[in-house]
């Protein structure tokens, strides 16, 4: 009853007021991600130039965890190189598995707010949906 941190302000804020939830004009990369258990669906849209993610957005529907996580992710990866984004994705997945080091956690900035999901096995898929979709999209870059 005590520990409520995983529905914290960072998460609810990104869920209610997502900065990046809209369609992008002329994206270079579009990748669909679905999580059948919650019915979460996102379409991730990216502009990538010279190995750098210049812009990104998503559209979709789903639970608060999936939507907020995708929004936080875009905050972090826009402006980063593809390589850096892949690295952050790896750290995020390790965090969700409870295996990230403190130094790694620091690099995750706001995404660290989702750390508690590692104790909610049923919801892990929601938290990683955005990141998995990003990995898949960048695999094609």
């Amino acid at each position: 009853m005590a520990d409520k941190t995983f529905y914290n302000e960072v998460l609810t804020d990104h869920n209610m007021h997502p900065l990046h939830k809209h369609a992008l004009e002329c994206p270079d990369l579009v990748m669909e991600g679905v999580n059948p258990s919650c019915g979460d669906e996102i379409s991730l849209q990216l502009k990538v130039e010279d190995g750098v993610i210049r812009d990104g957005s998503f559209v979709g529907e789903g639970c608060a965890i999936s939507q907020a996580s995708a929004d936080i992710m875009l905050d972090m990866v826009i402006g980063k190189t593809v390589e850096e984004a892949r690295e952050l994705s790896g750290i995020f997945l390790r965090m969700i598995q409870g295996q990230a080091t403190p130094e790694e956690l620091e690099r995750l900035e706001e995404a660290g707010a989702l750390e508690d999901i590692s104790h909610m096995p049923a919801r892990v898929k929601c938290a990683v949906l955005g990141w998995h979709t990003l990995d898949e999209a960048l695999g094609k870059a």
Partner: protein, 409 residues
């Protein structure tokens, strides 16, 4: 009317409820097991176990006796005319598949119709869809009222002389509403069709009399009525079962097998290929005895009391929508709801953090979700061992959710 304390003492029979500090409100998914059931399974394996129906020695006869006694008790429990009308299966899903494959495979032809209600769990929909595809028959949806009932009129609206079977649940696992199977069976029979009833959500919670209802088949699962997982039953009228071909073939379902000549066993063994789940059957028998000792009048009264409390409480919380009828009497211990703006999985996760287990999702009834125009919903479902305090705890937690997610009030 019973005092709540009358049923309280039964709660102590459930070891899991003592082990977990949890308001377990997902009884429509599966129930917890009382000590008496666990004991019966244990006794079977400690003192009665051999391969039933096979050995010549005394111990095998004991195992057979336990298994067949469970069948007789199950028959009596749902008022079947004879024990041979009970086929043991793994669960309701297997029972429904048995009828669809065996009866459907032998009796459905191109142009025939199977009517499937929109309320059905995937387990009473997909087997019919599959057999329809194989045989060229057509499956047609029976709509429901906004309260979640299949009425005679709605059944009649899609019933044609080509209709061979009507598949309908006695209680919807989403709407919680009870269908009047007696009337529906009569309407189906007048049109020359059979009625396949899904009793998965009714048999655990109310007295069911298959002869009085006049249904031709009834499927249910042990695990939703205090018994172990892995044992379920199919009731079928004897003459129908007699005429049906086997479902699975193999050991224990034959009389004579030669390379060029096979004679199958009589029902029910014809449908029980392979080594049976005698331990599970012993557990099911203990579960039935346990339910009979409490009595369905008291079980229904307590479940109705909890349903009433939950629904009245939910109605006081802003932003809550209850699916189906607004009247608690129309809900057999099942209350499905949505919290405005909040995804059902987020609702369930927040409740879980507060020590309350409910179900969130499509409840294996996606055609019904489409019909209702929702993606998924939350469901609280009660058993007689749940308490008023658990419902209060549930309501308090639900009441906080919108605020917690940033939606004022």
């Amino acid at each position: 009317m019973d005092k709540q304390s009358d049923l309280r003492k039964y709660r102590e029979d459930f070891p899991l409820l003592a082990e977990w500090d949890l308001a377990y409100l997902d009884n429509a998914a599966t129930t917890q097991k009382p000590r008496q059931v666990l004991e019966a399974v244990r006794r079977y394996y400690e003192a009665e176990n051999a391969n039933p129906l096979r050995g010549v020695y005394e111990l095998s006869a004991v195992a057979t006796q336990v298994y067949e006694d469970a069948r007789a008790l199950t028959a009596e429990f749902i008022h079947a005319a004879q024990p041979e009308e009970i086929v043991f299966t793994r669960n309701a899903t297997e029972s429904l598949n048995l009828v669809a494959y065996s009866w459907g495979g032998a009796n459905l032809h191109p142009g025939d119709r199977v009517l499937v209600s929109v309320l059905e769990h995937h387990s009473n929909f997909l087997p019919w869809k599959a057999v329809a595809e194989r045989t060229g028959a057509e499956i047609v949806q029976i709509p429901c009222t906004p309260e979640g009932e299949i009425t005679e009129e709605l059944l009649r609206s899609v019933l044609t002389p080509q209709t061979k079977l009507v598949a309908v649940t006695q209680v919807s696992n989403v709407m919680g509403r009870k269908n009047d199977l007696k009337k529906l069976a009569k309407v189906a029979h007048e049109a020359g069709a059979l009625l396949m009833a899904d009793g998965a959500q009714s048999v655990p919670h109310m007295a069911v009399d298959v002869q009085d209802l006049g249904v031709d088949f009834l499927a249910f699962s042990g695990h939703k009525m205090l018994a172990p997982m892995g044992i379920g039953a199919l009731y079928g009228r004897k003459e129908l079962l007699d005429a049906m071909p086997p479902f699975l073939t193999g050991g224990e379902m034959i009389e004579i097998v030669h390379w060029d000549r096979v004679k199958y066993a009589q029902v029910p063994h014809k449908f029980e290929a392979g080594t049976v789940n005698a331990g599970g059957a012993a557990g099911l028998a203990a579960a039935i005895r346990y339910l009979q000792e409490i009595g369905f009048d008291r079980i229904e009264a307590q479940e109705q009391r909890l349903t009433c409390l939950a629904m009245e409480g939910l109605k006081q919380i802003p932003g809550i929508r209850i699916i189906g009828s607004a009247r608690p009497e129309d809900h057999m211990g099942i209350v499905t709801f949505m919290v405005e703006d909040v995804h059902p999985h987020d609702v369930a996760s927040i409740l879980d953090r507060d020590g309350i287990a409910i179900r969130a999702g499509h409840h294996c009834a996606q055609p019904l979700m489409d019909y209702l125009g929702v993606n998924s919903t939350c469901r609280a479902s009660f058993a007689f061992y749940n308490t008023e305090e658990e419902v209060e705890k549930f309501l308090a937690s639900v009441g906080k959710i919108r605020g917690l997610m940033g939606y004022g009030g």
